[in-house]
């Protein structure tokens, strides 16, 4: 790993042995990850390997059936429910921690009844209780940053997919997250719109943001990452330095995966 551990930096995120069962099927069989400040971890894996479920378990959009999540050294407290899920025990703690972890969805999930500006200012206004003027000024600055300032008063329905995803990224940035989780941010986009979104995420990497990014864009995954994980059927099959992982994969499954996706 990088020198950050040697510096004694505590991990921003530490997920241990995350498991998730849907009925009889265990789709995560114990996945762990540590993310230190500035880490950009890209997560690869075939469709159905559990990448989305893993990301969703990290902020409890999905309740894991095993394992633990620590954010900034603070464990998310849970209690088992009847079905073996680890339900968050302290709603207030969960809300507080979620506000510090951004999530960017494959389908953008903008709120269609609010303008782009309204979408971006919503979290600061309602969750962080920032004044409207301040939240909107900040939102506008973020929209400028993702190249959407002139469309601030558009409704999401009037934006292209790439613009919607950039707006969704601005909405996440508005919360000043210490960690951002991306779940296939470009998979719902027409090919010609992928670049503009990846460019925004590259910019965030240059800023030193801490990010976990699930993606099928292999070139991007290799170039932006400080570390890469390959998931296979709910387990980490291979994990390490992106250059090594892409050029000398150890596992046969990763070799096959890369052959299929690099061609």
């Amino acid at each position: 790993m990088t020198g950050r551990d040697a510096n004694g930096g505590a991990p921003m995120l530490s997920a241990r042995d995350i498991r998730k069962r849907f009925g009889e099927v265990e789709v995560l069989k114990g996945v762990s990850v540590d993310a230190h400040p500035g880490d950009v971890i890209t997560i690869l894996g075939a469709s159905g390997s559990g990448k989305s479920t893993f990301l969703r378990c990290l902020n409890f959009l999905e309740t894991p059936t095993g394992g633990s999540v620590m954010l900034h050294g603070e464990p998310i407290v849970t209690r088992p429910d009847g079905e073996g899920n680890h339900q968050p025990r302290d709603r207030r703690q969960l809300r507080r921690l979620r506000a510090r972890v951004g999530f960017v969805f494959q389908q953008f999930n903008l709120w269609p009844h609010m303008t782009v500006l309204g979408n971006v200012a919503e979290g600061p206004r309602q969750v962080l209780k920032t004044s409207r003027a301040e939240a909107e000024a900040r939102a506008l600055a973020l929209l400028e940053k993702v190249g959407l300032a002139e469309r601030a008063n558009f409704y999401p329905a009037h934006l292209s997919g790439g613009q919607q995803q950039r707006a969704a990224i601005a909405r996440t940035l508005a919360m000043d997250p210490e960690l951002i989780l991306f779940d296939e941010p470009t998979s719902a986009l027409d090919p010609e719109l992928v670049g503009e979104v990846l460019e925004v995420i590259r910019g965030l990497a240059r800023e030193g943001r801490t990010m976990l990014i699930v993606t099928h864009e292999m070139g991007f995954a290799r170039e932006v990452a400080t570390r890469t994980m390959f998931l296979h059927e709910g387990l980490v099959e291979e994990d390490g330095d992106p250059e090594a992982l892409f050029t000398q994969p150890e596992s046969e499954r990763l070799r096959q995966f890369l052959r299929r996706h690099l061609s």
Partner: protein, 250 residues
């Protein structure tokens, strides 16, 4: 009694309009109270928890499963059977047929509106709710800022339809002596024996009233769906600068 009595209609018009005014009150007030009552019922109905969902079930089952006329009679004649109610502080209200009709219609329409609301809440794409949760919104904030506004857009046409059904259902108020539009027509007929003219005039007034309501709901829908309609406008004025240090540029 020969020929069609245009003059009778004209003479009766002030009285019929009086009746229409009573009908309008019954419908609008019960439409509003029904909506208020339906909010907790509909929200409970869409809860992921089975026991919360079960709470309003009996209520909705009863009011949707029995005729409005039966409900009206039960409240108008039934309440008076209870000594406790007759001695109670609200008796001076509850013995009024007008209040009984308002109460019945509100309870009745609330059951339907609750089901409309449940359907609308469940039709909100789950991703929009997850986006709210992911930035740290709690259950109530999500409800207030995302679910209810979205459900209002989705459920408004069905709600408008329910209000119009209640306009027609409100004619039953005449069976407990109220002089709503139908009650007024019947009273007038008892004096002038012009059943066809009176009911025809009443029918036309119902039509006009419903047409106006439909227009109003159409306008409300347009206003609520402006996010899908309004042609986008680019922001022309320069973007105001924020104090530096708030956010580093890319």
């Amino acid at each position: 009694m020969d020929g069609f009595g245009w003059d009778i209609i004209l003479q009766s018009l002030p009285k019929l309009l009086e009746g229409l005014w009573v009908t309008a009150q019954l419908v609008l007030v019960s439409g509003l109270f029904g909506l208020l009552l339906a909010l907790p019922l509909g929200i409970a109905r869409s809860s992921p928890r089975p026991w919360v969902r079960a709470l309003p079930f009996g209520y909705i089952f009863f009011f949707r499963g029995t005729p409005l006329l039966v409900q009206l009679f039960l409240i108008y004649y039934g309440l008076a059977q209870f000594e406790a109610i007759r001695q109670g502080p609200l008796w001076y209200l509850l013995r009024e047929p007008y209040v009984c009709a308002l109460l019945t219609f509100s309870l009745h329409t609330a059951a339907y509106i609750a089901e409309i609301l449940r359907g609308a809440l469940q039709a909100v794409p789950p991703g929009e709710v997850e986006a709210a949760r992911a930035i740290g919104m709690g259950r109530w904030l999500t409800l207030r800022r995302v679910l209810l506004p979205r459900a209002a857009q989705i459920g408004l046409p069905a709600y408008g339809n329910e209000v119009i059904l209640m306009v027609k259902g409100s004619a039953l108020a005449s069976t407990i002596t109220l002089l709503d539009l139908t009650g007024m027509a019947r009273t007038l007929i008892a004096g002038n024996y012009r059943a066809v003219e009176m009911f025809l005039a009443a029918g036309v007034l119902y039509l006009i009233f419903n047409w106006v309501l439909q227009r109003l709901f159409r306008l409300a829908e347009r206003a609520m769906n402006r996010h899908l309609r309004e042609p986008p406008r680019l922001v022309q004025q320069p973007v105001p600068r924020v104090p530096s240090g708030l956010d580093p540029p890319l």
